[in-house]
Subunit: 404 residues, 2 copies
């Protein structure tokens, strides 16, 4: 493959035109970290400035009654429709991913009294593991760990062997943060349900790049990040999905006024709100949920199937180029070769990758590095071009030679 | 007193010039809700737009290493120096006020093993009460409630009678959200300490308008809101202060990667970070902590003693005008008459106040209403003029006549 291949792929890409809507797409910088922090859209800065002048400054406290109080669930519903395959009333923007995972885990364990085990895998994202450890200690439940091949994920057989009558909750990531392994969500969910357990899916590394059907797949709970493929900006608030059938029974422990049945009654006792609002605690972070609306509109316009097709195209091209240009140097693919089982990023292993990543940053090629030896290419579908993939992987080849 | 009095007070006000730095100060709207949502500064919209273009869009993921990772504690240190009377390394911007109160309560109760009681008052803000109820239920500790005169707060005698060898934690508000009662923080803290208990102060309704000396007053923990007198924007993230002497021993339960000793190690087990970072859980909400920096700079420029003097001037003027213009209609002052015991707002009780508040909003006079019959005048010192107070209270007088 030559540069002409990248040019042809970009020419034939029906979504190529979206790239110029992002800040900085005119620069020569090669950005492979859209799965850690998505680029802002060009319209976002103006949206924020206008919000300050017109909504915050103009409406002041009235903004809560007029629009902001409903915004977490209004955006949640849009996010659910566009990216989650879920109906309204089950999703809200809330706190950080960590805090929402905490609330969801706590609520789920409490909903399975008499069951004393949380099942999860050793390669899940650190926050998920740390939270589960803390919750296990505070509630006196056990953790059952599944060992996984770090270039893959939890298999159906592994999960079936791990769950049982004592399993309260299974915690899994839809796309693994290192390998990009794409879990079979409907199959794994059904296995947990067969054991009478609930499942909490962490969607942080999939939402906005991998389509899903949470309602049809009978998912119980899910939490996801909005600053990766949803371009909400650094530290933008996360979302939580709770299936409608569970909403009356799941209660989370951080009881704040916004999650109370009548927030303005300010009465003596807390009673959780009907519906998904019960998963809120404090005043919704309105400023932080503005930017993600621009990206959701873009994903809606492009359509998630087309976004996924572009994502598979980008990761497939990266895998091919890596084999051709980096394979001879001993670089190994640490992500699934099968595009059906691969999320939106590609991880390439080599003992020198930490040094290579540092050298690449110096020349404005920005991948990420994850221990023990993985260089991670996050290829955000709407803001990444095939030419960028080509230039970036050639740079990796050069830096591998230099670091050797 | 006549309009000329207001004009003279504004003319003599050394801080009068600050008002024009806020969005909308040129409008005729009378804003009495700066204690619920402070006005944005004129520089804030541009700061946000520039952040999107230059920092988020320009630095992308590199922004974390370069500046954002340290920002919660850097802003926390500034906030501590300017408004809390506290040295560095003890304060961080974090989650919502509710979530930080939850973490602080949980950490404090765990630090007093063998003590099974949380002491708080029935007039504390609903979130504080609801959280304590939830935590009491989950940890099996008791709540000991102090009944207070709703136009006052917890007295030294009341607290001394309530605490004892079984008290783990006392939860108090520095300024009461309804009455504006300003608690005697050093005295009450000492009483709790004499019983061996820790104290958690909720500073939401005081920070940025009432000076304090958390270090000198030997405070243990404090949490406060940044969208009231710190003008951080709707739902901006809150802050938590933990005295340096407690930092090694206090551990909060929401164990996320950012609060871990080495966030990028991503190892198998959670160990809390040294220092105040252990109170963080998820990725810091950077976009949400931009605006408050503009207000902190303004408070630093004006100086908290001058801000407090202006605040006492405004609330004193409001109290005088209310007596003169509203007293004959049966309006009662529900805030302390003594300015030394009064925070930055004034609450006026009358059976018709709910209807009066609604009518005032229709004519662009914006106070707040709190059950059972309180109209609340939040007089943010740097963005409120004496003329505004005069116009607003005259409007209340007119609407009281109309509603009667």
């Amino acid at each position: 493959m030559t540069d002409a291949t990248a040019a042809r792929l970009d020419r034939d890409d029906p979504l190529a035109g979206y790239r110029e809507r992002f800040v900085g797409s005119e620069d020569s910088l090669v950005y492979f970290d859209g799965n850690s922090l998505g680029r802002p859209l060009r319209v976002t800065g103006d949206r924020l400035a206008r919000f300050v002048e017109e909504e915050w400054g103009g409406r002041l406290i009235r903004g809560w009654d007029e629009r902001w109080m409903d915004l977490p669930i209004a955006i949640g519903d849009e996010l659910a429709r566009i990216t989650l395959g879920a109906g309204p009333g089950q999703t809200t923007i809330g706190d950080s991913t960590t805090v929402l995972l905490y609330k969801a885990m706590r609520a789920a364990v409490a909903a399975r009294p008499g069951r004393a085990e949380i099942v999860l895998d050793r390669d899940n994202f650190p926050t998920d593991r740390y939270l589960a450890q803390g919750i296990a200690a505070e509630l006196g439940v056990r953790l059952r760990w599944i060992d996984v091949d770090t270039s893959a994920g939890v298999t159906a057989d592994q999960l079936a062997a791990a769950v049982g009558p004592d399993t309260a909750l299974v915690v899994l990531s839809h796309v693994a943060y290192r390998s990009a392994w794409l879990a079979d969500m409907p199959t794994l969910t059904a296995i947990a349900h067969d054991a009478g357990a609930l499942v909490l899916w962490d969607l942080s590394h999939s939402v906005g790049s991998v389509p899903m059907q949470l309602d049809a797949w009978d998912v119980d709970l899910a939490v996801g990040c909005t600053y990766k493929y949803l371009n909400g900006g650094p530290g933008s608030p996360a979302f939580v999905y709770v299936a409608a059938r569970h909403l009356a029974d799941l209660v989370q422990p951080v009881q704040g006024w916004i999650g109370a049945a009548d927030p303005f009654l300010m009465g003596p006792d807390y009673a959780p709100a009907e519906g998904i609002r019960r998963f809120l605690s404090g005043t919704p972070p309105i400023l932080g949920m503005l930017a993600m609306q621009d990206m959701l509109a873009l994903l809606d316009e492009a359509g998630m199937p087309a976004v996924r097709a572009k994502s598979e195209g980008l990761t497939g091209y990266a895998v091919q180029l890596a084999e051709e240009l980096l394979g001879p140097a001993g670089v190994e693919l640490a992500s699934p070769a099968d595009p059906e089982r691969r999320g939106g990023h590609v991880t390439l292993n080599h003992p020198l990758m930490q040094a290579v990543t540092a050298a690449l940053w110096q020349r404005d090629v920005i991948p990420d590095y994850r221990d023990p030896q993985g260089l991670r290419l996050g290829l955000s579908p709407l803001s990444t071009s095939y030419a960028e993939v080509r230039v970036g992987i050639e740079a990796i080849a050069e830096e591998l030679v230099r670091a050797d």
